[in-house]
């Protein structure tokens, strides 16, 4: 959670764009990573992430603090955006169709071909999980959210989140082993 997040959120609710800008700076990398892992191409991830924050800013007036981090609300919006995106998709992308350079552009440091390939393999394996399992895996092991924060984001109890996490990890191992 961002320091002074409660005050920033209250200021953003009142319409202060500078406060929302600070929230944007902090949460944009996380949301972008979350979306990028779930969709196939960088352009799609950029469009969807832009839509997520645009939606959040437009509906900031209706946001209510219920004891959960602001990020949980952003992840909810991001999940819905990805679901809507999948509804309009016409074809699935395979590993052969993925461009390693496309993946490389999104990474801050230079990676070798092997590393790029491994990361692409993990991404594809995650995308073979069920949507909620994908969300839990990404939020827990990539974004380091707590089970409580994940539960608020996916709309389930903490116990359910832990169970989903366990099953998803097991499934992911099996998928990576077979590739």
């Amino acid at each position: 959670m961002l320091d002074g997040e409660h005050k920033l959120v209250r200021d953003a609710i009142r319409g202060e764009s500078s406060a929302f800008g600070l929230l944007y700076n902090h949460y944009h990398p996380k949301i972008y990573r979350f979306v990028f892992i779930k969709v196939s191409r960088r352009e799609e991830a950029e469009d969807l992430t832009h839509q997520v924050f645009l939606h959040a800013w437009e509906h900031m007036g209706s946001y209510e603090e219920r004891g959960y981090p602001f990020s949980s609300w952003l992840y909810q919006i991001a999940r819905n955006a990805v679901v809507d995106h999948y509804r309009t998709r016409k074809k699935e992308l395979s590993l052969d169709e993925m461009d390693p350079d496309d993946f490389g552009e999104t990474v801050g440091i230079e990676l070798g071909i092997h590393e790029k390939f491994e990361l692409a393999r993990v991404r594809l394996a995650i995308r073979e999980l069920k949507p909620t399992e994908q969300d839990v895996i990404i939020m827990r092991f990539v974004e380091d959210l707590t089970p409580r924060e994940i539960a608020a984001a996916v709309g389930k109890s903490e116990g359910a989140v832990k169970l989903i996490q366990h099953r998803a990890l097991k499934q992911l191992k099996a998928l990576l082993k077979n590739r």
Binding site: G15, Y24, H28, E46, T106, G108, I109
Partner: protein, 152 residues
């Protein structure tokens, strides 16, 4: 666990700085929709009500002004009073006089024929004037001969 290390590698994913800058700018500079609060709703209702009331008042002034114009105006607008218009129309004595119609006959001479109901009186008057001028009235008198006689 190897899989956890692989998942941690995904943290390296970053968006392009240009895209982030542009997206942030577009979002924060987007025109905000006004939030409809109770106070704003009441204010908008009052504004609408005031506009309707003013328009009604203006309409009343225009209609009322036209109605009172005939009482306050120094000029009598008789054209607006059907009764007086009817009386005026009945008072007009329209007497239509048809002037003498000149028809050219087959001999190339003009024949004066009067179509007026007062033709006998007019003829007598013309005859008297012609006698004064010394002009003999004849049916065979042509226009040119008449003009010559008058010119003497």
């Amino acid at each position: 666990m190897e899989i956890l290390k692989l998942l941690e590698q995904l943290k390296r994913i970053e968006a392009r700085p240009d895209y982030v800058r542009q997206s942030r700018y577009l979002i924060l500079h987007k025109e905000e929709k006004p939030v409809l609060s109770p106070g704003r709703f009441i204010l908008q209702s009052l504004q609408f009500g005031s506009a309707v009331a003013l328009a009604s008042l203006l309409l009343i002034f225009i209609v009322g002004g036209l109605a009172t114009w005939k009482f306050i105006s120094p000029f009598k607008l008789t054209s607006l009073d059907p009764g007086s218009l009817r009386a005026e129309a009945e008072a007009i004595d329209i007497q239509i006089e048809l002037t003498d119609i000149v028809y050219p006959d087959s001999r190339g001479e003009t024949t004066v024929e009067s179509a007026s109901p007062k033709a006998p009186e007019v003829k007598a008057q013309a005859k008297a004037e012609a006698e004064e001028l010394g002009v003999r009235e004849t049916e065979e008198t042509s226009i040119e001969e008449a003009l010559d006689l008058l010119a003497e």
